[in-house]
Symmetry: C2
Subunit: 195 residues, 2 copies
Amino acid sequence: MNESQPLIDHIQKRVILNEDEVQAFLSYFKYLKIRKRQFIIQPGFVAHHKNYILKGAFRAYVVDDNGQDHTIQVSIEDWWISDYNSYVYQKPATMFVEALEPSIILQLDYKDEALLKHQNHKFETFFRIMAERSVAHMQRRIITNLTMNAEDRYKEYEALHPDIVQRMPQYALASYLGMTTEYLSRLRNKRAKKS
Amino acid sequence: MNESQPLIDHIQKRVILNEDEVQAFLSYFKYLKIRKRQFIIQPGFVAHHKNYILKGAFRAYVVDDNGQDHTIQVSIEDWWISDYNSYVYQKPATMFVEALEPSIILQLDYKDEALLKHQNHKFETFFRIMAERSVAHMQRRIITNLTMNAEDRYKEYEALHPDIVQRMPQYALASYLGMTTEYLSRLRNKRAKKS
DNA sequence: CGCGACGTTGATTTGCCTCAACGATTGTGG
DNA sequence: CCACAATCGTTGAGGCAAATCAACGTCGCG
């Protein structure tokens, strides 16, 4: 039993690999422990890696001209995180990616990912599937942001990701949902009174 | 010279194909004329196709519970359009995709796309690249929506896509940018006075 | 020409933000 | 292991960006 088993399962759910292929795939990943509050990506530096989370939680956020945070992505175990604009085009990042908890990641370098994709059609397929699903997911988020008010966005997120809500600090959730911490606090409190 | 030449160029910019491969790829596309205001995707029906626009313009939008439109995507020549949540998972669409002008599209069926991807590593690569770039693009849009006010979103869009702004009806642009037509009208007018 | 779709303008309202002050909880060094 | 600071969340008062509602101008098209 390998410590990277969750990643193996993750891949096997999407493409079928034999033992050699699994080993070839894994051989490119770097096992890393990350402390709470540590950054794995920072603005100005190119995001050289795609990060699979074995344990812990991360958030990706930008800081606007007024110094306000805006959380773009939150990820926990069995998800990936990076600044995809930086990663895909290999240009400087605009985002911070920071550990919300002590975490363990498996890191894949951009060049190694390119090698993997080129080396084996199945690996290419795997990354294609990942990207397609990300597109679908982001489209849903855009729809949510355009169509719902603050309260409904909160309710929806809570219904979809109750596990993540509990582990995420409130300021991160608020800025992910596009509202202030004060306003989210009011929403929560308003509901508490009803029951 | 083929009427599908723009699609050939589009592909060759991303992967290098020989003549046979180009023909194999094209053989799956259906050439279609679409009238202005015609729908190519409607809520409740599965989006069976990915659509490459040879000529014309489309917008994809959802209608919320209050009957309001929200434009999710606008595309012109040399772009693709679909309801990706519906297409990727082959489940019923939530969006309308409607021609803004008389248009000509090249339509690829979901199953045929799957065949193409399986048949040739390069085709798989092509679709992977498309999806990756969509992810990056959508991430930028999410950031814009979270960090900018209405006026700045309008300015940014106009700077990035001056050609599209001119061809798009105002209500479509407003709902794409997440504001009302009235407010967009005011923004434009405000600026007109300055000069 | 006349109708329907689109855009404009004004008056009013509101959802959410800002600012400020204050509790609660977490983390840390002595 | 406690004390104190820093971080995080709560609550209230007031303000503003953008929405809503309504009425009217305009353009394209059957």
